[in-house]
């Protein structure tokens, strides 16, 4: 896996989508390097699905631009051959079997590895001959993912693929996903939207956080965690902290102040206890800063 290839799979600049008055996505500028598994997080209605649809060419921007795998997103076969997209709720034909879907894919796609899809589904014990409408949610998600991977895409865009799955099905789905990335030797880039931070933390190495239709954070998770800290201290004037650092979020009780900061240097104020920040707290801090009500949309449903 040559993670340091330097190329960008996705680069957007001021990307905007307005519907009449309201902006579904506003001035979105993000980059995702080749080979990353990027987590797309944010409250419902923050613009995650809109961004994914703009990147596939299923929707057109009203402003700004996107470069995806070196080209402008559009609904033409050459562009789409490189992209696997799994929409929310995994749209499959319920009366058709997985085998029917695999065969249809062979006719509809320029490049198609049906054998790999069948092998993957057999390994997972998913029947190829049964109507997919009769399969479990986890099995349908695996069929959808296997079909998306059968294109041998260079970019995989997944819109909340695990939201409806139980923990075991989620783990299996993510295992299929990470295995596909490992087998691609750094050639496959993934963007994955989800509310399940614990899942994202183990699978993703890159993060894009949207809130209120705007980008709040974008970067490698390791760097983002290193740039931020939690400071816990007595309730007092925080202007000294503010001069040296950026306060992302502050929680104040009569006695105590808890600050999430983007550090501008070492923290030397002895009144504060400095702690590393978890990914979940980082996401919550930015969501809370953008819109306090957003807190309630973030589920922290656990691992097992």
């Amino acid at each position: 896996m040559n993670e340091e290839t330097g190329g960008l799979a996705i680069e957007t600049s001021g990307l905007t989508k307005r519907y009449r008055r309201a902006a579904a996505l506003s001035e979105c500028s993000v980059t995702v390097p080749v080979g990353r598994i990027s987590a797309l997080v944010g409250p419902n209605g923050a613009g995650k699905s809109t961004l994914l649809r703009l990147l596939t060419g299923l929707a057109w921007p009203t402003g700004g631009s996107a470069v995806v795998l070196g080209g402008t997103p559009r609904q033409d076969p050459a562009f789409l051959a490189e992209i696997g997209y799994l929409a929310q709720d995994v749209p499959l034909y319920g009366r058709l079997s997985a085998e029917d879907h695999v065969r249809a894919g062979a006719r509809l796609n320029l490049r198609w590895d049906g054998a790999a899809a069948r092998t993957r589904l057999r390994q997972l014990g998913i029947p190829l001959d049964r109507a997919v409408g009769t399969l479990s949610g986890g099995q349908r998600a695996q069929v959808g993912l296997s079909l998306a991977l059968a294109k041998r895409p260079r970019l995989l865009l997944l819109d909340e693929p695990v939201a409806a799955l139980d923990p075991l099905a989620r783990r299996h789905f993510l295992s299929t996903l990470t295995s596909a990335v490992a087998e691609s030797d750094g050639g496959l880039t993934v963007m994955l939207s989800s509310h399940l931070i614990a899942d994202l933390e183990r699978v993703c190495d890159h993060l894009i956080l949207l809130a209120e239709a705007r980008v709040q954070l974008c970067g490698d998770i390791e760097d983002l965690l290193a740039e931020h800290m939690v400071l816990v201290g007595p309730r007092k004037d925080t202007s000294a902290i503010e001069r040296a650092h950026t306060i992302v979020h502050a929680t104040k009780t009569p006695r105590q102040t808890t600050l999430v900061i983007r550090r501008g240097g070492p923290v030397i104020d002895p009144a504060y206890q400095a702690e590393d920040i978890s990914l979940e707290d980082l996401v919550l801090a930015y969501m809370g800063a953008a819109a306090p009500a957003a807190y309630t949309h973030l589920s922290t449903v656990g691992e097992e």
Binding site: M1, E3, L177, S179, R202, S278
Partner: protein, 136 residues
Amino acid sequence: MISFRVDGRSGVPPYLQLVQQVRQALRMGVLDVGDQLPTVREVVAEVAVNPNTVLKAYRDLEREGLIEARSGQGTFVRRRPAGPPPTTHSRLGRSLARWVREAREAGLDDEAIESLLKVTLRAADQAAADFDEGIA
């Protein structure tokens, strides 16, 4: 062959969990010199983590000199972690046990003890860092 676990809610970064599990396995004798570690693909399929997480863990262990990648063959244990001899371990263990008894008698529960230990370790790290930077 070692089998990995990754706890997504432990607060310890996944790559560090893998590093710690290999070191622990070496200290405990679960892994020995010459033993093979699972491939990146095997680990990824087993615990569903980002492939770069496994690569980073193996790179760290290789930099430490504990494991080595042999091209085309896989990754193998080179040596066991350096550290004080077992006698030092048990001596420090005994004095820590005395301290824990004292802390319990003073009314500290496990949580209070753990948090005191964390704070003390952090302060020691900070003091060492300050000393390194020459501002102490």
